[in-house]
């Protein structure tokens, strides 16, 4: 039995552990806040917003904020919670244990956050009262899935790189890279998940042609590559981050022991 066959064991065990009142309350809160906020926005407007505006509003709140927050809470402490709870040692002394735990928890993070994102995006579009909502819902749901898949890998890697300060490192990454640098029209934003998702939103909603043609600056924000290219890059980044996390987990020494345990 190798790593692949052990991953389901971790996945189902960890999923059962997530079914607690506080965690389910978090799930509901993350699902509910984008549609509630959009409902408030809609109630202050006299007419339904243009489709482009609706697309950006839902995108910012669902695939970006709700998904990123959900994943941040799930994936970032995947390793640090085991180290702090001193339960890591039981997993580390199993054949293929660390890698099974890494990928099992990755699947838990995306399987937990994708439904949150899908519900919040769908309800968000409905809350805005868009005339033809189907296309927008489909696009937002696709972005939710990609967002969860990519961000889970990113935050899992951050948790493996800095297990003792995982949450702080996660917040710093989100603020510095995904919020700040993703908005800088320079090569550095190509490294962010946010840039790829934003480009995909513009492509899939046909918002790009007129805008990008008018300004080179906007081209730096939305790129001029095809949607397939951006999806490919996102998936490559995801595989790269997971491979790096697995490599670190395999070769770095993670013990809960401190010097006092010598």
């Amino acid at each position: 039995m190798n790593t692949l066959q052990r991953i389901p064991a971790v996945f189902f065990f960890e999923w059962r552990r997530t079914l607690t009142v506080p965690r389910l309350a978090w799930m509901v809160a993350l699902m509910a806040f984008p549609p509630l906020l959009l409902m408030l926005i809609r109630s202050t407007a006299r007419s339904e917003p243009p489709i482009e505006v609706a697309a950006i509003l839902v995108y910012v709140l669902a695939p970006c904020v709700a998904c990123m927050m959900g994943i941040f809470l799930w994936a970032t402490p995947a390793l640090s919670s085991e180290l702090e709870g001193r339960s890591w040692v039981y997993l580390a002394v199993r054949p293929h244990g660390p890698l099974s735990v890494l990928f099992g928890k990755y699947l838990v993070a995306i399987s937990w956050s994708i439904p949150v994102g899908l519900v919040s995006a769908t309800l968000g579009v409905i809350a805005l009262g868009v005339v033809d909502p189907i296309r927008l819902i489909v696009v937002q749901c696709a972005l939710v899935v990609l967002s969860c898949v990519a961000y889970s890998a990113v935050f899992l890697l951050i948790g493996v790189i800095a297990p003792k300060r995982a949450m702080v490192a996660g917040i710093l990454y989100a603020v510095i890279f995904e919020v700040t640098l993703a908005l800088v029209p320079a090569a550095v934003n190509l490294l962010t998940v946010q840039y790829r998702l934003r480009c995909l939103l513009v492509r899939w909603m046909d918002m790009d042609s007129a805008m990008v043609e008018r300004s080179e600056v906007l081209s730096a924000y939305f790129g001029d590559e095809s949607a397939a290219w951006h999806v490919g890059v996102l998936l490559t980044m995801t595989i790269g981050y997971l491979t790096l996390a697995a490599g670190l987990l395999r070769y770095r020494e993670f013990t809960a022991a401190s010097e006092t345990d010598i």
């Binding site: 001193r86 890591w88 002394v93 199993r94 993670f254 013990t255 010097e259 345990d261 010598i262």
Partner: protein, 310 residues
């Protein structure tokens, strides 16, 4: 060969966890003794592959622990820290960890139930771990270490925090394990806990292997080491002078509260002297105390030998 260490050294930055240990152990039961901070946990982490040696090599059952999945299938480990998931039942936790050993769900559950029977927790195995007493948690931790039927069981301070009944129960269980012909390495900082399981000891202190062998071997090693005796006597200065004159002591000290503290390598002659002095009414001896025979004293003595002193 069960265990083979060649100049194994492990550094944590500038702190030495394990210092240049070389030893070979055959299959069987062995005790790893040392005071807190001696390097026992580091050594066990090296043996279970959680750490790799900074220098030297470690081989367990002929395999390198750090890179061997096969070895992890063949060993069971009970770590020194608790680290259990409090929110799941004992059987769920043991079955989960057994599954990670490579068994399918059905077999893992069956083996977990057997292990819970073995540690006598069948009646409570569906309870959440957070409701368990310290002894029950310790037995559950042992169950996860033995559920997959390993050939080499490694236990880090298994008796820590147990009450006498739980301690006895743990000892009995481990005695059965040894009687089945399986190998065991158990660490402790209390000698008598391990004495009931094995006569093969390794003594560790300051990251160094001070001695190994049977209790008799270690006792022999200590025969030339001065032992400390404290006495309350009516004329301490007079007795001190007589002991020095008779050359029965290595050092004498009279403490502030009048206690006579001596070190001697001639314990037998000293006891004869005292017996004679008391029966002849030369001194009124109200208390005689040998420093207790605790492991810490053994370590202290061995450290003195190790450093070239007496």
């Amino acid at each position: 060969m069960l265990l083979e260490l060649n100049n194994a050294t492990r550094l944590y930055g500038t702190v030495i966890g394990v210092n240049d240990i070389s030893l070979s152990l055959e299959n069987g039961a062995h005790g790893l003794l040392g005071p807190n901070g001696a390097g026992k946990s580091t050594l066990l982490n090296l043996i279970t592959g959680q750490l790799s040696p900074t220098l030297g090599s470690v081989r367990v059952l002929g395999l390198q622990p750090r890179s061997s999945h096969e070895l992890l299938r063949r060993i069971g480990f009970l770590p020194g820290s608790e680290g259990m998931y409090a929110d799941v039942s004992a059987i769920e936790w043991v079955a989960y960890l057994t599954r990670l050993q490579g068994f399918n769900a059905g077999d893992a559950k069956r083996l977990a139930v057997q292990a819970m029977e073995r540690v006598q927790l069948t009646d409570h195995m569906h309870r959440k771990i957070l409701s368990f007493s310290r002894g029950m948690r310790q037995r559950t931790r042992l169950a996860q270490a033995i559920a997959h039927e390993p050939e080499f069981l490694i236990l880090d301070e298994p008796f820590s925090g147990l009450d006498p009944i739980a301690r006895h129960s743990m000892t009995t269980l481990l005695q059965h394990w040894i009687a089945e012909g399986r190998s065991l390495l158990v660490s402790s900082h209390v000698l008598y806990e391990i004495e009931s399981l094995t006569r093969s000891f390794m003594l560790l202190s300051g990251g160094r292997l001070l001695a190994s062998g049977t209790a008799g071997d270690i006792h022999t090693l200590l025969t030339d080491v001065p032992s400390e005796v404290r006495m309350r006597v009516d004329k301490p200065r007079l007795m001190a002078a007589e002991l020095i004159r008779e050359e029965l002591v290595d050092s004498v000290q009279i403490t502030d509260d009048g206690e006579l503290k001596i070190t001697t390598t001639m314990s037998n002659q000293l006891s004869r002297f005292l017996g004679q002095a008391v029966t002849e009414d030369r001194y009124l001896v109200t208390e005689v105390r040998a420093a207790d025979d605790s492991l810490q004293d053994v370590f202290n003595s061995l450290m003195k030998i190790h450093r070239g002193g007496k």
